[in-house]
Protein backbone atom coordinates (compact mmCIF):
# COMPACT_ATOMS: atom_id res chain seq x y z
CA UNK A 1 0.00 0.00 0.00
CA UNK A 2 2.57 2.49 1.14
CA UNK A 3 4.94 1.65 -1.68
CA UNK A 4 2.25 1.83 -4.32
CA UNK A 5 1.03 5.12 -2.93
CA UNK A 6 4.50 6.62 -2.86
CA UNK A 7 5.20 5.44 -6.41
CA UNK A 8 1.96 6.99 -7.67
CA UNK A 9 2.75 10.25 -5.92
CA UNK A 10 6.26 10.31 -7.37
CA UNK A 11 5.04 9.65 -10.90
CA UNK A 12 2.41 12.35 -10.55
CA UNK A 13 4.98 14.79 -9.27
CA UNK A 14 7.36 14.02 -12.11
CA UNK A 15 4.61 14.43 -14.65
CA UNK A 16 3.36 17.64 -13.12
CA UNK A 17 6.55 19.61 -13.71
CA UNK A 18 8.16 17.81 -16.59
CA UNK A 19 10.16 20.80 -17.78
CA UNK A 20 11.78 21.34 -14.39
CA UNK A 21 12.58 17.66 -14.09
CA UNK A 22 14.17 17.67 -17.53
CA UNK A 23 16.29 20.67 -16.62
CA UNK A 24 17.45 18.93 -13.46
CA UNK A 25 18.34 15.88 -15.53
CA UNK A 26 20.30 17.96 -18.02
CA UNK A 27 22.17 20.01 -15.46
CA UNK A 28 23.17 16.95 -13.45
CA UNK A 29 24.12 15.26 -16.70
CA UNK A 30 26.47 18.05 -17.72
CA UNK A 31 27.93 18.62 -14.27
CA UNK A 32 28.54 14.96 -13.65
CA UNK A 33 30.10 14.61 -17.07
CA UNK A 34 32.62 17.18 -15.95
CA UNK A 35 33.12 15.40 -12.65
CA UNK A 36 33.60 12.15 -14.54
CA UNK A 37 36.03 13.75 -16.98
CA UNK A 38 38.10 15.09 -14.12
CA UNK A 39 38.13 11.66 -12.51
CA UNK A 40 39.08 9.98 -15.79
CA UNK A 41 41.87 12.49 -16.42
CA UNK A 42 43.27 11.73 -13.00
CA UNK A 43 42.99 8.03 -13.76
CA UNK A 44 44.88 8.68 -17.00
CA UNK A 45 47.60 10.55 -15.15
CA UNK A 46 47.91 7.72 -12.64
CA UNK A 47 48.09 5.17 -15.39
CA UNK A 48 50.85 7.07 -17.17
CA UNK A 49 52.76 7.47 -13.93
CA UNK A 50 52.42 3.78 -13.19
CA UNK A 51 53.64 2.94 -16.62
CA UNK A 52 56.43 5.43 -16.99
CA UNK A 53 57.73 5.79 -13.48
CA UNK A 54 58.72 2.14 -13.56
CA UNK A 55 61.09 3.09 -16.33
CA UNK A 56 62.58 6.22 -14.84
CA UNK A 57 65.59 6.48 -12.58
CA UNK A 58 67.38 9.16 -10.66
CA UNK A 59 70.79 9.85 -12.13
CA UNK A 60 73.51 11.08 -9.82
CA UNK A 61 76.14 12.43 -12.18
CA UNK A 62 79.63 12.30 -10.79
CA UNK A 63 82.16 15.04 -11.36
CA UNK A 64 83.83 14.84 -14.74
CA UNK A 65 87.06 16.56 -15.64
CA UNK A 66 86.83 20.29 -15.90
CA UNK A 67 83.42 20.70 -14.27
CA UNK A 68 82.63 24.13 -12.93
CA UNK A 69 80.39 22.90 -10.14
CA UNK A 70 81.72 23.92 -6.68
CA UNK A 71 81.67 20.32 -5.44
CA UNK A 72 83.86 19.33 -8.35
CA UNK A 73 86.69 21.73 -7.58
CA UNK A 74 88.98 18.79 -6.92
CA UNK A 75 88.52 17.49 -10.45
CA UNK A 76 87.13 14.11 -11.49
CA UNK A 77 85.40 12.09 -8.77
CA UNK A 78 87.80 9.78 -7.03
CA UNK A 79 87.32 6.18 -6.02
CA UNK A 80 87.07 7.22 -2.38
CA UNK A 81 84.36 9.75 -3.15
CA UNK A 82 82.42 7.14 -5.12
CA UNK A 83 82.74 4.63 -2.29
CA UNK A 84 81.64 7.28 0.20
CA UNK A 85 78.60 8.04 -1.95
CA UNK A 86 77.78 4.36 -2.24
CA UNK A 87 77.90 4.08 1.56
CA UNK A 88 75.62 7.06 1.93
CA UNK A 89 73.14 5.58 -0.55
CA UNK A 90 73.20 2.21 1.16
CA UNK A 91 72.74 3.63 4.65
CA UNK A 92 70.90 6.94 4.63
CA UNK A 93 68.81 6.18 1.57
CA UNK A 94 68.32 2.48 2.19
CA UNK A 95 64.53 2.94 2.52
CA UNK A 96 64.16 5.02 -0.57
CA UNK A 97 66.44 3.41 -3.10
CA UNK A 98 65.49 0.01 -4.44
CA UNK A 99 68.43 -0.54 -6.76
CA UNK A 100 71.79 1.08 -7.20
CA UNK A 101 73.85 0.79 -10.31
CA UNK A 102 77.06 2.54 -11.01
CA UNK A 103 77.45 3.42 -14.63
CA UNK A 104 81.14 3.95 -15.24
CA UNK A 105 82.55 6.01 -18.07
CA UNK A 106 83.19 2.76 -19.97
CA UNK A 107 79.56 1.67 -19.53
CA UNK A 108 78.34 5.03 -20.63
CA UNK A 109 80.51 4.95 -23.70
CA UNK A 110 79.33 1.46 -24.57
CA UNK A 111 75.70 2.57 -24.30
CA UNK A 112 76.46 5.67 -26.30
CA UNK A 113 78.22 3.80 -29.05
CA UNK A 114 75.37 1.39 -29.27
CA UNK A 115 72.90 4.18 -29.66
CA UNK A 116 74.91 6.31 -32.04
CA UNK A 117 77.27 3.94 -33.87
CA UNK A 118 78.18 6.69 -36.33
CA UNK A 119 79.04 9.28 -33.75
CA UNK A 120 76.90 12.03 -32.36
CA UNK A 121 76.15 14.81 -34.77
CA UNK A 122 79.34 14.23 -36.68
CA UNK A 123 81.77 14.29 -33.70
CA UNK A 124 83.52 11.19 -32.60
CA UNK A 125 83.57 11.03 -28.83
CA UNK A 126 85.88 9.00 -26.67
CA UNK A 127 85.37 7.24 -23.40
CA UNK A 128 86.83 10.23 -21.58
CA UNK A 129 84.04 12.44 -22.86
CA UNK A 130 81.55 10.31 -20.98
CA UNK A 131 80.42 10.96 -17.45
CA UNK A 132 80.15 8.33 -14.74
CA UNK A 133 76.88 8.26 -12.76
CA UNK A 134 74.93 6.37 -10.16
CA UNK A 135 71.60 5.16 -11.51
CA UNK A 136 69.16 4.85 -8.65
CA UNK A 137 65.83 3.12 -8.96
CA UNK A 138 63.55 4.40 -6.24
CA UNK A 139 61.01 2.41 -4.29
CA UNK A 140 58.61 5.27 -4.84
CA UNK A 141 59.54 7.55 -7.75
CA UNK A 142 57.79 10.45 -6.05
CA UNK A 143 60.51 10.52 -3.40
CA UNK A 144 63.05 12.05 -5.70
CA UNK A 145 63.38 15.09 -3.51
CA UNK A 146 64.73 13.03 -0.59
CA UNK A 147 67.49 11.64 -2.75
CA UNK A 148 68.30 15.03 -4.17
CA UNK A 149 68.47 16.57 -0.69
CA UNK A 150 70.84 13.91 0.59
CA UNK A 151 73.19 13.72 -2.37
CA UNK A 152 73.31 17.23 -3.77
CA UNK A 153 76.36 19.14 -2.62
CA UNK A 154 78.39 16.11 -1.66
CA UNK A 155 81.99 15.95 -2.80
CA UNK A 156 82.19 14.28 -6.19
CA UNK A 157 78.55 14.81 -7.13
CA UNK A 158 78.03 17.24 -9.96
CA UNK A 159 74.30 17.15 -10.27
CA UNK A 160 71.32 14.97 -9.30
CA UNK A 161 68.79 14.58 -12.08
CA UNK A 162 65.33 13.14 -12.07
CA UNK A 163 64.22 11.62 -15.33
CA UNK A 164 60.67 12.28 -14.29
CA UNK A 165 61.29 15.88 -15.13
CA UNK A 166 60.87 14.88 -18.77
CA UNK A 167 57.23 13.99 -18.18
CA UNK A 168 56.43 16.94 -15.97
CA UNK A 169 55.02 19.20 -18.70
CA UNK A 170 52.62 16.49 -19.85
CA UNK A 171 51.46 15.70 -16.34
CA UNK A 172 51.14 19.38 -15.61
CA UNK A 173 48.92 19.78 -18.63
CA UNK A 174 46.78 16.78 -17.71
CA UNK A 175 46.51 17.91 -14.10
CA UNK A 176 45.50 21.39 -15.14
CA UNK A 177 42.91 19.95 -17.49
CA UNK A 178 41.44 17.86 -14.73
CA UNK A 179 41.50 20.85 -12.39
CA UNK A 180 39.63 22.84 -15.00
CA UNK A 181 37.10 20.07 -15.40
CA UNK A 182 36.72 19.86 -11.64
CA UNK A 183 36.23 23.62 -11.43
CA UNK A 184 33.56 23.59 -14.10
CA UNK A 185 32.03 20.58 -12.40
CA UNK A 186 31.90 22.56 -9.16
CA UNK A 187 30.04 25.43 -10.81
CA UNK A 188 27.66 23.07 -12.56
CA UNK A 189 27.06 21.12 -9.37
CA UNK A 190 26.16 24.33 -7.61
CA UNK A 191 23.70 25.06 -10.41
CA UNK A 192 22.35 21.54 -10.07
CA UNK A 193 21.82 21.95 -6.33
CA UNK A 194 19.99 25.24 -6.81
CA UNK A 195 17.88 23.80 -9.58
CA UNK A 196 16.95 20.72 -7.59
CA UNK A 197 16.06 22.97 -4.67
CA UNK A 198 13.83 25.09 -6.87
CA UNK A 199 12.21 22.09 -8.50
CA UNK A 200 11.40 20.48 -5.20
CA UNK A 201 10.12 23.73 -3.82
CA UNK A 202 7.82 24.15 -6.80
CA UNK A 203 6.67 20.59 -6.47
CA UNK A 204 6.03 21.07 -2.75
CA UNK A 205 4.17 24.31 -3.42
CA UNK A 206 1.96 22.77 -6.04
CA UNK A 207 1.07 19.98 -3.65
CA UNK A 208 0.65 22.13 -0.57
CA UNK A 209 -2.96 21.06 -0.21
CA UNK A 210 -2.02 17.40 -0.18
CA UNK A 211 0.86 17.83 2.20
CA UNK A 212 -1.27 20.02 4.45
CA UNK A 213 -3.87 17.31 4.72
CA UNK A 214 -1.22 14.67 5.16
CA UNK A 215 0.19 16.57 8.10
CA UNK A 216 -3.25 17.05 9.62
CA UNK A 217 -4.23 13.42 9.46
CA UNK A 218 -0.94 12.42 11.00
CA UNK A 219 1.26 11.21 8.17
CA UNK A 220 4.84 10.90 9.33
CA UNK A 221 7.42 13.42 8.25
CA UNK A 222 9.22 10.85 6.16
CA UNK A 223 6.02 9.82 4.42
CA UNK A 224 5.19 13.40 3.53
CA UNK A 225 8.68 14.13 2.25
CA UNK A 226 9.58 10.83 0.64
CA UNK A 227 7.82 11.45 -2.70
CA UNK A 228 9.61 14.80 -3.13
CA UNK A 229 12.89 13.29 -2.11
CA UNK A 230 12.48 10.47 -4.58
CA UNK A 231 11.52 12.88 -7.33
CA UNK A 232 14.75 14.81 -6.90
CA UNK A 233 16.78 11.65 -6.55
CA UNK A 234 15.27 10.05 -9.64
CA UNK A 235 15.92 13.12 -11.78
CA UNK A 236 19.48 13.37 -10.51
CA UNK A 237 20.19 9.67 -11.00
CA UNK A 238 18.87 9.82 -14.56
CA UNK A 239 21.30 12.70 -15.11
CA UNK A 240 24.12 10.64 -13.62
CA UNK A 241 23.28 7.65 -15.81
CA UNK A 242 23.32 9.91 -18.86
CA UNK A 243 26.69 11.26 -17.76
CA UNK A 244 28.06 7.73 -17.41
CA UNK A 245 26.67 6.91 -20.85
CA UNK A 246 28.26 10.03 -22.32
CA UNK A 247 31.63 9.26 -20.79
CA UNK A 248 31.38 5.68 -21.94
CA UNK A 249 30.73 6.77 -25.50
CA UNK A 250 33.50 9.36 -25.28
CA UNK A 251 36.07 6.90 -24.03
CA UNK A 252 34.94 4.20 -26.43
CA UNK A 253 34.97 6.27 -29.59
CA UNK A 254 37.51 8.97 -28.81
CA UNK A 255 40.10 7.09 -26.75
CA UNK A 256 39.82 3.39 -27.45
CA UNK A 257 38.83 3.52 -31.10
CA UNK A 258 40.84 6.55 -32.17
CA UNK A 259 43.67 7.62 -29.84
CA UNK A 260 44.61 4.04 -29.11
CA UNK A 261 44.85 3.34 -32.81
CA UNK A 262 46.93 6.37 -33.69
CA UNK A 263 49.22 6.63 -30.64
CA UNK A 264 49.39 3.13 -29.38
CA UNK A 265 52.37 3.12 -27.03
CA UNK A 266 50.50 4.89 -24.25
CA UNK A 267 48.26 3.21 -21.72
CA UNK A 268 44.87 4.89 -21.99
CA UNK A 269 41.78 4.91 -19.81
CA UNK A 270 39.32 2.23 -20.88
CA UNK A 271 35.57 1.82 -20.68
CA UNK A 272 36.29 -0.29 -17.60
CA UNK A 273 37.54 2.85 -15.88
CA UNK A 274 34.30 4.59 -16.80
CA UNK A 275 32.39 1.84 -15.03
CA UNK A 276 34.61 2.35 -11.98
CA UNK A 277 33.76 6.06 -12.00
CA UNK A 278 30.03 5.35 -12.46
CA UNK A 279 29.20 4.52 -8.81
CA UNK A 280 30.95 7.73 -7.76
CA UNK A 281 28.84 9.80 -10.16
CA UNK A 282 25.58 8.15 -9.14
CA UNK A 283 26.56 8.52 -5.50
CA UNK A 284 27.21 12.23 -5.99
CA UNK A 285 23.87 12.62 -7.77
CA UNK A 286 21.95 10.92 -4.97
CA UNK A 287 23.81 12.87 -2.30
CA UNK A 288 23.12 16.16 -4.11
CA UNK A 289 19.45 15.40 -4.48
CA UNK A 290 18.98 14.17 -0.94
CA UNK A 291 20.85 17.04 0.68
CA UNK A 292 19.14 19.74 -1.33
CA UNK A 293 15.69 18.21 -0.90
CA UNK A 294 16.05 17.66 2.82
CA UNK A 295 17.09 21.26 3.26
CA UNK A 296 14.19 22.51 1.13
CA UNK A 297 11.60 20.17 2.55
CA UNK A 298 12.43 21.04 6.11
CA UNK A 299 11.53 24.59 5.23
CA UNK A 300 8.41 23.89 3.23
CA UNK A 301 6.74 20.76 4.55
CA UNK A 302 7.69 20.66 8.19
CA UNK A 303 5.18 18.84 10.37
Amino acid sequence: MRLQFVVTEVLQGLRRNVSMVISVVLVTFVSLTFVGSAALLQTQVDKLKDDWYDLVEVSVFLCPNGSTAPTCAAGEATEEQIDALRTVIDTELADVVAQTYLETKADAFAAFSERYPDGYQGTQLTEDDMQASFRLKLVDPEQYQVVADVLTGREGVEVVEDQRAIFQPLFLALNRASLLAAGLAGVMLLAAVLLITTTIRLSAMSRRRETGIMRLVGASNLFVQLPFLLEGAIAAVVGAVLAVGGLWLGVKYFVTDWLQQSVNWVAYVTVGDVLLVAPLLIGIAVALAVVSSVVTLNRYTRV
Partner: protein
Protein backbone atom coordinates in the same frame (compact mmCIF):
# COMPACT_ATOMS: atom_id res chain seq x y z
CA UNK B 1 -9.25 14.65 26.96
CA UNK B 2 -8.09 18.19 26.35
CA UNK B 3 -6.70 20.26 29.16
CA UNK B 4 -5.34 23.79 28.92
CA UNK B 5 -3.49 25.04 31.98
CA UNK B 6 -2.86 28.76 32.03
CA UNK B 7 -2.02 28.71 28.38
CA UNK B 8 -0.58 31.80 26.82
CA UNK B 9 0.23 32.20 23.17
CA UNK B 10 2.00 35.21 21.74
CA UNK B 11 2.59 35.09 17.99
CA UNK B 12 4.85 38.09 17.54
CA UNK B 13 7.01 39.53 20.26
CA UNK B 14 5.30 42.47 21.88
CA UNK B 15 1.96 41.78 20.24
CA UNK B 16 -1.21 41.23 22.22
CA UNK B 17 -1.34 37.55 23.20
CA UNK B 18 -3.75 35.46 21.13
CA UNK B 19 -4.46 33.42 24.22
CA UNK B 20 -3.86 34.78 27.68
CA UNK B 21 -4.02 32.49 30.70
CA UNK B 22 -6.61 30.11 29.29
CA UNK B 23 -7.57 27.20 31.53
CA UNK B 24 -10.11 24.80 30.04
CA UNK B 25 -10.77 21.15 30.70
CA UNK B 26 -12.69 19.13 28.14
CA UNK B 27 -13.73 15.66 29.31
CA UNK B 28 -13.83 12.56 27.12
CA UNK B 29 -16.96 12.47 25.00
CA UNK B 30 -17.92 16.07 25.60
CA UNK B 31 -19.32 18.42 22.96
CA UNK B 32 -17.96 21.92 23.38
CA UNK B 33 -18.73 25.05 21.44
CA UNK B 34 -16.02 27.63 21.25
CA UNK B 35 -17.54 31.03 20.61
CA UNK B 36 -16.15 34.51 20.39
CA UNK B 37 -15.48 37.26 17.93
CA UNK B 38 -12.89 36.89 15.21
CA UNK B 39 -9.47 37.24 16.77
CA UNK B 40 -10.68 36.08 20.17
CA UNK B 41 -8.37 33.06 20.00
CA UNK B 42 -10.67 30.25 18.85
CA UNK B 43 -8.47 29.18 15.99
CA UNK B 44 -5.34 29.48 18.11
CA UNK B 45 -7.01 27.19 20.61
CA UNK B 46 -7.59 24.57 17.93
CA UNK B 47 -4.10 24.98 16.50
CA UNK B 48 -2.61 24.41 19.92
CA UNK B 49 -4.60 21.20 20.31
CA UNK B 50 -3.20 20.04 16.96
CA UNK B 51 0.23 21.21 18.00
CA UNK B 52 0.51 23.32 14.91
CA UNK B 53 1.59 25.93 17.40
CA UNK B 54 3.31 25.62 20.73
CA UNK B 55 2.12 27.59 23.73
CA UNK B 56 4.33 30.46 24.83
CA UNK B 57 3.54 29.60 28.43
CA UNK B 58 1.40 27.09 30.26
CA UNK B 59 0.66 23.49 29.39
CA UNK B 60 -1.58 21.76 26.89
CA UNK B 61 -2.57 18.13 27.43
CA UNK B 62 -4.31 16.24 24.66
CA UNK B 63 -5.31 12.58 24.94
CA UNK B 64 -2.94 12.13 27.85
CA UNK B 65 0.04 13.70 26.12
CA UNK B 66 1.78 16.82 27.32
CA UNK B 67 2.15 18.82 24.12
CA UNK B 68 4.70 21.20 25.55
CA UNK B 69 7.23 18.39 25.88
CA UNK B 70 6.12 16.04 23.11
CA UNK B 71 8.92 15.36 20.62
CA UNK B 72 8.23 16.35 17.04
CA UNK B 73 8.38 12.79 15.71
CA UNK B 74 5.47 11.89 17.98
CA UNK B 75 3.30 14.65 16.58
CA UNK B 76 1.97 12.49 13.70
CA UNK B 77 0.72 9.89 16.14
CA UNK B 78 -0.98 12.64 18.15
CA UNK B 79 -2.70 13.91 15.03
CA UNK B 80 -3.92 10.44 14.16
CA UNK B 81 -6.08 10.65 17.26
CA UNK B 82 -7.54 14.00 16.16
CA UNK B 83 -9.84 14.67 13.24
CA UNK B 84 -10.18 18.18 11.85
CA UNK B 85 -12.88 19.85 9.79
CA UNK B 86 -12.60 23.31 8.31
CA UNK B 87 -14.93 25.94 7.03
CA UNK B 88 -13.43 25.65 3.54
CA UNK B 89 -13.61 21.81 3.52
CA UNK B 90 -10.06 21.44 2.20
CA UNK B 91 -10.81 18.57 -0.14
CA UNK B 92 -8.46 17.52 -2.91
CA UNK B 93 -10.14 18.71 -6.12
CA UNK B 94 -8.58 16.10 -8.38
CA UNK B 95 -9.60 13.15 -6.25
CA UNK B 96 -13.03 11.56 -6.02
CA UNK B 97 -15.07 11.45 -2.83
CA UNK B 98 -13.85 7.94 -2.14
CA UNK B 99 -10.22 8.84 -2.85
CA UNK B 100 -10.42 11.92 -0.68
CA UNK B 101 -11.50 9.86 2.30
CA UNK B 102 -9.16 6.97 1.49
CA UNK B 103 -6.27 9.45 1.23
CA UNK B 104 -6.36 10.04 4.98
CA UNK B 105 -5.85 6.33 5.57
CA UNK B 106 -3.34 5.79 2.78
CA UNK B 107 -0.94 8.41 4.03
CA UNK B 108 -0.79 6.90 7.48
CA UNK B 109 -0.03 3.54 5.95
CA UNK B 110 -3.26 1.66 6.62
CA UNK B 111 -3.48 -1.62 4.69
CA UNK B 112 -5.67 -1.74 1.63
CA UNK B 113 -8.26 -4.14 3.01
CA UNK B 114 -8.86 -1.82 5.96
CA UNK B 115 -9.40 1.08 3.58
CA UNK B 116 -11.76 -0.98 1.46
CA UNK B 117 -14.02 -1.70 4.39
CA UNK B 118 -13.81 1.53 6.40
CA UNK B 119 -14.25 4.10 3.67
CA UNK B 120 -17.64 2.86 2.38
CA UNK B 121 -18.74 2.49 5.98
CA UNK B 122 -17.96 6.07 6.89
CA UNK B 123 -19.38 7.38 3.59
CA UNK B 124 -22.62 5.62 4.37
CA UNK B 125 -22.61 7.14 7.82
CA UNK B 126 -22.33 10.68 6.48
CA UNK B 127 -24.99 9.95 3.85
CA UNK B 128 -22.87 9.95 0.73
CA UNK B 129 -23.48 6.36 -0.17
CA UNK B 130 -23.48 6.09 -3.97
CA UNK B 131 -21.55 9.31 -4.57
CA UNK B 132 -18.11 7.78 -4.18
CA UNK B 133 -17.07 8.57 -7.72
CA UNK B 134 -18.05 12.26 -7.67
CA UNK B 135 -15.44 14.95 -7.49
CA UNK B 136 -15.69 17.75 -4.95
CA UNK B 137 -16.75 20.36 -7.52
CA UNK B 138 -19.72 18.20 -8.45
CA UNK B 139 -21.00 18.31 -4.89
CA UNK B 140 -22.95 20.91 -2.97
CA UNK B 141 -21.31 22.67 -0.04
CA UNK B 142 -23.09 20.49 2.47
CA UNK B 143 -22.01 17.35 0.70
CA UNK B 144 -18.44 18.58 0.51
CA UNK B 145 -18.45 19.20 4.22
CA UNK B 146 -19.77 15.68 4.74
CA UNK B 147 -16.83 14.36 2.75
CA UNK B 148 -14.51 16.42 4.93
CA UNK B 149 -16.16 15.03 8.05
CA UNK B 150 -15.90 11.52 6.68
CA UNK B 151 -12.23 12.09 6.07
CA UNK B 152 -11.73 13.46 9.55
CA UNK B 153 -13.62 10.61 11.16
CA UNK B 154 -12.55 7.66 9.02
CA UNK B 155 -9.64 6.86 11.30
CA UNK B 156 -11.98 6.94 14.32
CA UNK B 157 -10.17 9.73 16.17
CA UNK B 158 -10.80 10.33 19.85
CA UNK B 159 -11.17 14.04 19.23
CA UNK B 160 -12.87 15.91 16.41
CA UNK B 161 -12.02 19.58 15.96
CA UNK B 162 -14.27 21.69 13.79
CA UNK B 163 -13.33 25.23 12.83
CA UNK B 164 -16.57 26.90 11.76
CA UNK B 165 -17.74 23.87 9.83
CA UNK B 166 -21.05 25.54 8.98
CA UNK B 167 -19.59 28.91 8.10
CA UNK B 168 -20.08 28.37 4.37
CA UNK B 169 -23.45 26.64 4.56
CA UNK B 170 -27.05 27.69 4.64
CA UNK B 171 -28.99 27.14 7.89
CA UNK B 172 -30.69 23.92 6.87
CA UNK B 173 -27.57 22.34 5.52
CA UNK B 174 -25.78 23.48 8.66
CA UNK B 175 -28.38 21.68 10.66
CA UNK B 176 -27.66 18.48 8.81
CA UNK B 177 -23.95 18.90 9.46
CA UNK B 178 -24.69 19.50 13.15
CA UNK B 179 -26.71 16.30 13.35
CA UNK B 180 -23.79 14.47 11.85
CA UNK B 181 -21.34 15.97 14.33
CA UNK B 182 -23.72 15.14 17.14
CA UNK B 183 -24.00 11.57 15.95
CA UNK B 184 -20.20 11.35 15.88
CA UNK B 185 -20.14 12.81 19.39
CA UNK B 186 -22.46 10.02 20.53
CA UNK B 187 -19.96 7.42 19.46
CA UNK B 188 -17.80 8.74 22.26
CA UNK B 189 -15.78 11.18 20.23
CA UNK B 190 -14.92 14.45 21.92
CA UNK B 191 -16.02 17.31 19.68
CA UNK B 192 -14.72 20.85 19.93
CA UNK B 193 -16.34 23.24 17.51
CA UNK B 194 -15.47 26.87 16.95
CA UNK B 195 -18.45 28.72 15.54
CA UNK B 196 -20.19 32.02 14.96
CA UNK B 197 -23.55 30.37 14.38
CA UNK B 198 -25.75 31.42 17.28
CA UNK B 199 -28.77 29.42 16.14
CA UNK B 200 -26.87 26.20 16.21
CA UNK B 201 -25.33 26.89 19.59
CA UNK B 202 -28.67 27.82 21.09
CA UNK B 203 -30.39 24.77 19.70
CA UNK B 204 -27.81 22.20 20.66
CA UNK B 205 -27.78 23.05 24.38
CA UNK B 206 -24.19 21.93 24.82
CA UNK B 207 -21.28 23.28 26.76
CA UNK B 208 -20.21 26.74 25.58
CA UNK B 209 -16.81 28.31 26.15
CA UNK B 210 -16.62 31.95 25.19
CA UNK B 211 -13.31 33.56 24.43
CA UNK B 212 -12.73 37.27 24.35
CA UNK B 213 -9.36 38.74 23.37
CA UNK B 214 -7.66 35.57 24.41
CA UNK B 215 -9.30 34.93 27.76
CA UNK B 216 -12.18 32.70 28.79
CA UNK B 217 -15.04 34.96 29.80
CA UNK B 218 -17.73 32.30 30.07
CA UNK B 219 -17.85 28.51 30.43
CA UNK B 220 -21.33 27.08 30.81
CA UNK B 221 -22.17 23.40 30.89
CA UNK B 222 -25.42 23.96 29.00
CA UNK B 223 -24.97 27.28 27.35
CA UNK B 224 -26.36 29.48 24.68
CA UNK B 225 -24.51 31.59 22.20
CA UNK B 226 -25.12 34.64 24.32
CA UNK B 227 -25.79 38.11 23.18
CA UNK B 228 -24.47 38.70 19.75
CA UNK B 229 -23.97 42.34 20.52
CA UNK B 230 -21.57 41.61 23.36
CA UNK B 231 -19.72 38.83 21.60
CA UNK B 232 -19.40 40.70 18.34
CA UNK B 233 -19.31 44.25 19.66
CA UNK B 234 -17.76 46.12 16.78
CA UNK B 235 -20.24 44.81 14.29
CA UNK B 236 -23.28 45.55 16.36
CA UNK B 237 -26.48 44.52 14.73
CA UNK B 238 -25.03 43.05 11.58
CA UNK B 239 -23.07 40.12 12.85
CA UNK B 240 -23.37 38.44 9.52
CA UNK B 241 -20.47 40.52 8.28
CA UNK B 242 -18.24 39.22 10.99
CA UNK B 243 -18.78 35.59 10.24
CA UNK B 244 -16.43 34.66 7.42
CA UNK B 245 -18.28 32.82 4.76
CA UNK B 246 -21.56 34.22 5.84
CA UNK B 247 -20.98 37.15 3.58
CA UNK B 248 -20.92 34.96 0.55
CA UNK B 249 -23.85 35.43 -1.76
CA UNK B 250 -24.40 31.68 -1.69
CA UNK B 251 -26.77 31.91 1.27
CA UNK B 252 -29.81 30.02 0.17
CA UNK B 253 -33.03 29.77 2.00
CA UNK B 254 -33.82 26.58 0.18
CA UNK B 255 -31.10 24.03 0.61
CA UNK B 256 -29.83 22.09 -2.34
CA UNK B 257 -31.77 18.91 -3.02
CA UNK B 258 -28.52 17.01 -2.81
CA UNK B 259 -27.95 18.19 0.73
CA UNK B 260 -31.39 17.07 1.76
CA UNK B 261 -30.81 13.76 0.10
CA UNK B 262 -27.49 13.35 1.89
CA UNK B 263 -29.11 14.24 5.17
CA UNK B 264 -31.86 11.72 4.57
CA UNK B 265 -29.32 9.06 3.65
CA UNK B 266 -27.24 9.77 6.74
CA UNK B 267 -30.34 9.63 8.89
CA UNK B 268 -31.34 6.33 7.38
CA UNK B 269 -27.87 4.94 7.85
CA UNK B 270 -27.98 5.94 11.49
CA UNK B 271 -31.40 4.41 11.96
CA UNK B 272 -30.32 1.23 10.27
CA UNK B 273 -27.28 1.06 12.48
CA UNK B 274 -29.43 1.70 15.53
CA UNK B 275 -31.98 -0.88 14.51
CA UNK B 276 -29.39 -3.53 13.90
CA UNK B 277 -27.68 -2.71 17.19
CA UNK B 278 -24.60 -3.63 15.30
CA UNK B 279 -23.78 -0.03 14.77
CA UNK B 280 -20.20 0.58 15.71
CA UNK B 281 -20.77 4.13 14.54
CA UNK B 282 -23.90 4.80 16.53
CA UNK B 283 -23.90 2.73 19.68
CA UNK B 284 -26.76 4.48 21.40
CA UNK B 285 -30.09 4.55 19.61
CA UNK B 286 -30.11 8.20 20.18
CA UNK B 287 -32.73 10.81 20.40
CA UNK B 288 -32.48 13.13 17.43
CA UNK B 289 -29.54 15.36 18.05
CA UNK B 290 -30.91 18.82 17.66
CA UNK B 291 -33.97 20.84 18.32
CA UNK B 292 -36.42 20.47 21.11
CA UNK B 293 -38.04 17.22 22.12
CA UNK B 294 -41.17 18.25 20.34
CA UNK B 295 -39.32 18.80 17.13
CA UNK B 296 -37.48 15.58 17.72
CA UNK B 297 -40.72 13.69 18.01
CA UNK B 298 -41.84 15.30 14.82
CA UNK B 299 -38.66 14.28 13.16
CA UNK B 300 -39.42 10.71 14.11
CA UNK B 301 -42.84 10.81 12.63
CA UNK B 302 -42.20 12.58 9.38
CA UNK B 303 -39.89 11.68 6.53
CA UNK B 304 -36.73 13.74 6.43
CA UNK B 305 -38.03 16.18 3.84
CA UNK B 306 -40.88 17.20 6.08
CA UNK B 307 -38.52 17.59 8.96
CA UNK B 308 -36.39 19.88 6.92
CA UNK B 309 -39.37 21.92 5.85
CA UNK B 310 -40.44 22.20 9.45
CA UNK B 311 -36.98 23.17 10.55
CA UNK B 312 -36.91 25.75 7.83
CA UNK B 313 -40.14 27.21 9.00
CA UNK B 314 -38.94 27.34 12.58
CA UNK B 315 -35.71 28.93 11.48
CA UNK B 316 -37.44 31.71 9.69
CA UNK B 317 -39.81 32.20 12.63
CA UNK B 318 -36.85 32.46 14.97
CA UNK B 319 -35.11 34.89 12.73
CA UNK B 320 -38.17 37.02 12.32
CA UNK B 321 -38.54 37.05 16.10
CA UNK B 322 -34.99 38.18 16.64
CA UNK B 323 -35.00 40.83 14.02
CA UNK B 324 -38.39 42.09 14.99
Amino acid sequence: MIRFENVEKVYARGARPALDGVTVDVARGEFVFLVGASGSGKSTFLRLVLREERPTAGRVYVAGRDLSTISSWKVPSLRRSIGVVFQDFRLLPNKTVYENVAFALQVIGRPRHVIKTTVPEVLEMVGLDGKEKRRPHELSGGEQQRVAIARAFVNRPQILLADEPTGNLDPTTSLGIMRLLDRINRTGTTVVMATHDDEIVNEMRKRVVELKTGTVVRDEAVGSYGERESILPTIGGTPVLDAPGRNQPAIRVTPEPADLEAERAAEEAAERAAAEHAGPLVPVPAEPPVRTRRAAAAARRYPADDVVQQVLAENSRARAGREG
